[in-house]
Subunit: 479 residues, 2 copies
């Protein structure tokens, strides 16, 4: 129980210990020939522009792909075709159904003596509505939370929190909390509209969208993010005196839609004794994007990096023992819908999923590597780290966590790996109109493809397991 | 005559030689005490944030100010009030009437298999209209010009010219020529719509607007600029195959509007013998802006820099001999309407206008200084240059030309001065939504204010003239 709690809180492996309580598992090792193949693969990947070209293809041919939209369906068809073109030997779709949110129009203006337009974007999940009201500014979420009940009656709440830039993206936690918690908190105080400074680190008139949720029992209100310069402008105006704003949003939930996880496999070796094609190493990204940009860094990059990594493994003279499975997840942005559907479908197959890693943190270079592998696989992890080191990747045992779409599998017992990207500039682009292909650096993508191909190949070639095992049911459920 | 042609082509002074053909004018000189005062003024300006605060006030309180709009009228009222607040002793308005152009809505989409929205902005002067047509790409204006007559019948022309970045802004000539000449050229070949890559150097989804004109006798067509990333995207799509685009613009000319040049003066000394308050040194910027941003670098900066420079001169214990006149010109953006009205009104007073300089090239530091002063004032110019040198400003005799709103006065014989700003980043922001106050560097503004105050003060304190004189009528008109 304590172990189970640790597994949840620290993301450390404990599951495999259950049921084999006193047996020390055989140490997992990476065969020496596999290290040599990985070194060649690394070099091939660094010299290849395949990942970059896949990102170009998706973002150009499909463009923005809001979950459930016509373009989302085109993205699914694109992914299936692209997997085949790239030589994946098994390609299939798995349906994912979710509520469909639509954005139709959005605008905001300061009214009165300083009349002027403001650049906004509706938060994903915002309802339609037009409100004209006085704006009340809060420097952060805590000060909104501290406002007296009813104090915002008939007002628009404005949380002007400034997200901080960091390589590891640690500023996004508090930044995105304004988006996830702000609207419901504001409604609780009586607000009839919600505005926030974008959870972003840029200084362009391109607001950052993203999903929000309204607490049960509340009546949702129009909710939007201002671009960073517009938030600063509104703050300057409020310093001059009270300001009334007109906020007009046409958007909302509209039934359900079905999209698909698109899956491609490079089948593992079928050689007697050596082959374990039924075991899979999972890598991937998410296929959907927000609608404002073309989803290049979020997450065309992850799709391009992992599709190319798998394809390069597929071009090796001999496949590794295990299958490399690349998943293009459906609808990550609005609630990990594809990831949850996948985890549910494969709940009983967790042990066959050796280890999983998602690329969903932009298009920057990878600077660190870690996994949640158990002690008997730590030497193998260190060998993988050794093969990644020439890419400028540091081994940071125990640090980090799974990518978002790997999370639901990890909750069910999957061992995660983490190839951490430099996210210093990621939140300049994330969820904005500026998330476009021109922002992609082909050399950084090649480095990512090299890292993912080396990681996936070596994990697939390892002798011995990485400790994935179904999680023991929680005590409450066991009763 | 030859001289007159030289004056027009090289911007060199010749006018004063007319009518005093063989008299060598007395050499203009800067008195030594004035140099000492200028040094103090320079230091005061470097330590002041006045220019920055004026820019903040205009861009925040008024925001975007399209000529003839309600906000333009607010900008006029703002300028009159601000001149008075800053201690100008004469402040007045002069009406300027011009055709009024309105932007109401604009959108574009790629249709068909790669359907996706494109970010555009209507060019100033574009008519309303919706067209759906195949796009034909041209890498530059010359290739559009070379297209066969009728070859664009029923098509949308797309000029994908990439403007080059340069400190002196020299890339803007060919860049803006696509905007000014592209639409008429395209119509001449049969096009029903016109798209161009923005004349800009950034990589954001913020298109650059700007005025265009349609040649007499042509039927104008909807004309817009794509943001740079959108132009790149459309080019990639066209490389895949033919593309149809829907271009929908609601905009157009709508009667006339009257705005105002707003003028403030720091009156020159009235001391007997020394004072020449009837003579003026002109500095200024333009008050109007495009509607997409808040006109911070174009040209809130010029307004703030020159208003502050004049105000600091006004705070000196003793005024200089001449009057410093600061002009906030109306409607520069759509055709120098304020500047032309001013030049016409004061055509007979050119000799009273000693020398003029406009700040209208962004908010970067000034790196070079020159004037079109005649030989007898070159020593005075060199002394002014000496007082500017501690600001990192190089003296580049004969180089450059007048700011846009000074141009019509120069055509009538005014001597110009040029305080050249570093424009390396100017065309990242120019005419875009991103032209907002947060892009302004207060230290660079202080350097500009220091330069303008030193220049205007010394020109106003000079003994002897700078050679402004009415231009001799052109031979044709003289007959």
């Amino acid at each position: 129980m304590r172990g189970s709690m640790l597994a949840v809180t620290a993301g450390l492996w404990m599951g495999a210990a259950l049921g084999v309580a006193n047996a020390a598992p055989r140490e997992t090792r990476i065969p020496e020939p596999a290290m040599q193949t990985a070194a060649q693969l690394r070099q091939t990947a660094l010299e290849s522009d395949l990942g970059y070209r896949v990102i170009e293809s998706l973002t150009t041919e499909v463009g923005p792909r809001l979950p459930g939209s016509e373009a989302d369906a085109r993205a699914v068809a694109w992914a299936e075709k692209k997997f085949r073109e790239l030589g994946y030997d098994k390609v299939w779709l798995e349906p994912v159904t979710f509520p469909k949110w639509e954005r139709r129009s959005e605008s905001a203006q300061v009214l009165g003596a300083n009349a002027q337009p403001l650049k906004i974007t509706a938060l994903g999940g915002s309802p339609a509505g037009t409100v004209e009201a006085e704006v009340v500014r809060f420097p952060d979420l805590a000060s909104l939370e501290a406002a007296a009940d009813g104090s915002l009656a008939g007002k628009i709440a404005f949380v002007d929190y400034e997200m901080q830039r960091a390589r590891d993206g640690s500023g996004y936690g508090p930044g995105s909390r304004v988006r996830s918690r702000g609207p419901s908190t504001a409604i609780g105080k009586g607000a009839i509209g919600f505005l926030m400074r974008s959870a972003g680190t840029d200084s362009h008139r391109n607001p950052h969208t993203g999903i929000t949720r309204f607490d049960e029992g509340l009546t949702p209100v129009p909710s939007a993010a201002l671009s960073v310069p517009d938030a600063q402008q509104l703050s300057r105006l409020l310093a001059l005196g009270p300001q009334r704003v007109r906020l007009a949003i046409d958007a909302g939930w509209n039934g359900t839609a079905t999209s698909h996880n698109v899956i491609g496999e490079i089948t593992g070796s079928k050689a007697a004794g050596r082959g374990k094609p039924q075991e899979v190493v999972v890598i991937g990204g998410h296929l959907d994007s927000w609608d404002l940009g073309t989803g290049a860094v979020d997450d065309g990059a992850g799709i391009g990096i992992t599709m190319a990594a798998g394809a390069l493994i597929g071009q090796l003279p001999k496949p590794p023992a295990r299958t490399v499975r690349v998943i293009a997840f459906a609808n990550e942005e609005q609630g990990l819908h594809g990831a949850k559907a996948y985890a549910e479908k494969y709940a009983k197959d967790i042990a066959r999923h050796q280890i999983g890693a998602e690329s969903d943190f932009g298009a920057g270079r990878i600077y660190a590597f870690a996994t949640s592998a158990p002690p008997h696989a730590k030497a193998a992890e260190a060998r993988i780290a050794q093969a990644l080191a020439p890419l400028g990747i540091e081994h940071t045992p125990g640090k980090g966590g799974p990518g978002p779409d790997i999370g639901p599998l990890v909750e069910r017992g999957l061992t995660w790996a983490n190839l951490r990207q430099d996210g210093t500039d990621y939140f300049d682009l994330h969820h904005t109109p500026d998330d476009t292909f021109d922002k992609i650096d082909p050399k950084a993508i090649a480095q990512n493809v090299a890292a993912y191909s080396v990681f996936a190949y070596l994990a697939a070639a390892a002798e011995g397991d990485f400790g994935s095992a179904p999680k023991a049911p929680a005590p409450e459920a066991a009763k």
